[in-house]
């Protein structure tokens, strides 16, 4: 293999493992180098050692973020599914309720929703458990996105599939269970996995109402020792540790289920 082939792939070639790993290292190195140069210009030094003494709090925060995200994933899936169903309802008020919900929560920033929900709705109805409030806010927000993903999945079911199900003699309930749902799941799974990564990142906004999750833990630590840069660099790495595997898994799902031309 000529040396330049390490950097440039042929027109119709597949990227080899060697090319891949070599160039990923280059890309990451460039990224880190740029950041490092910026740091050098400012003449600041980093000391991450203090993080070790906060390891238990950090672990708790990390666990809280995972827990918060997982519970919100389940609740937002439920909300998204209900909303997608309601969207197609023949009872128009239900249908429009679902549409208004999706439009409002997708069309406004989550920070506004966090404040309004927690301080007005939450206070008015006595939701004073911050974790519960956090789950509700995050789920309602993400549910609007998931509703659109599921609705897209429902819309993508081709009429011929339903007609074929009818022709082989399936009852409508069987058609839903054996044909429609599996196809929707296969088609929406990559997007839903991607949405899970968004849930994890968006959960950081709940630190605004002092839900003790990862970001809030870091905020509290940095408030005591003012090591803001170290804290936030480490925070970024921890979020990446969660979202990167999901992103890889999403890629894998996309390649596996790309059965339409």
């Amino acid at each position: 293999m000529p040396f330049y082939r390490l950097f440039i792939k042929g027109v119709n070639d597949k990227t080899t493992l060697l090319q891949k790993s070599f160039n990923i290292i280059i890309a990451v190195a460039l990224f880190v180098l740029f950041f490092f140069l910026s740091v050098r210009r400012l003449d600041i030094g980093f000391d991450f050692s203090f993080l070790w003494s906060f390891r238990y709090r950090l672990a708790q925060g990390f666990a809280a973020t995972v827990e918060l995200s997982l519970v919100s994933l389940v609740v937002s899936l439920l909300l998204g599914f209900l909303s997608a169903m309601a969207n197609n309802s023949r009872v128009l008020a239900i249908s429009y309720f679902a549409r208004v919900y999706v439009q409002f929560f997708r069309g406004t920033p989550m920070i506004m929703q966090v404040y309004l929900f927690f301080y007005i709705v939450g206070t008015a109805w006595g939701v004073d458990n911050r974790f519960l409030a956090g789950v509700l806010i995050l789920s309602i927000f993400e549910g609007a996105y998931i509703a659109e993903i599921i609705r897209g999945g429902i819309d993508s079911i081709e009429p011929t599939q339903l007609e074929a199900a009818k022709a082989v003699g399936l009852e409508s309930r069987q058609t839903l269970r054996l044909i429609v749902l599996p196809q929707i799941v296969k088609r929406t799974l990559p997007a839903l996995a991607g949405q899970f990564a968004s849930i994890i990142k968006d959960s950081s906004l709940l630190s605004l109402i002092s839900v003790i999750e990862l970001t809030q833990t870091i905020r509290e630590i940095s408030a005591t020792n003012f090591a803001i840069f170290e804290c936030y660099i480490f925070l970024g790495l921890l979020y990446l540790a969660l979202t990167f595997p999901i992103s890889m898994y999403t890629r894998y799902l996309e390649s596996r289920f790309s059965y339409e031309n």
Binding site: T160, Q161, A167, V168, G169, L170, Q183
Partner: protein, 245 residues
Amino acid sequence: MRIELAGVTKVFTDGKKVLDNICYSEDFDALAIIGPSGGGKSTLLRILGGLISPTTGEVSFDGSKVSFDEKHLIHYRRKIGFVFQAKGLFYHLTARQNVILPLVNVHGYTKTGAATTADNLLDRFGLSADRHKFPHELSGGQQQRVAIARAIAVKPKLLLLDEPTSALDPELTGEVLDMLNELRNDGLNIILVTHEMGFAKKACDKLMFIVNGKLAECGESKNLFTRPRTAELAAFLSKVLEWNI
């Protein structure tokens, strides 16, 4: 098998009359429905298959009338095989699973029994190497052969096919038509909508010619091809056969 159509008419919800008072009764082994596109052939076949109901009119096979209410239709459909023009296989299932699903979930086979039936059929039609492939991994011809295998796996008394080869390349058309001819020789009754005039003439004993929702001509296919009685059929045949060798 005997088919009887009495005044079959279909008006779609937009008011378009696609089938206009079709009356026909005939004994057939293989019946080809031919005619210009948009003339109502596929609609007629869907009515025969119990997928849609006629607006008015009656359909009978071997003297028993088809009852077009959903409760009876679901049982009726189970006794009939239906093959679509394309995309009739379930996308999320492999070739083998496509054949197995109706056997298990509609016809009460055990999983092993259904698997054996499916494997035997796929083997017979030269598809055993492809049985674990998904529809998108199969050629158009293979897809249609799997669709036919799925339709006949349940041992229907009648097989309906809606232009089963119109989406295929010529060499793939041949492999599907060969398969159909073999099934017909085994005694399966077939009704198909087709543009394959060679197949309609040689492999089908009876012919219906439908134009603008009306039955313009019908009879023995060998007679109709050589001596069309109506000007419409003569014109249609001269057009579709113009470039035949």
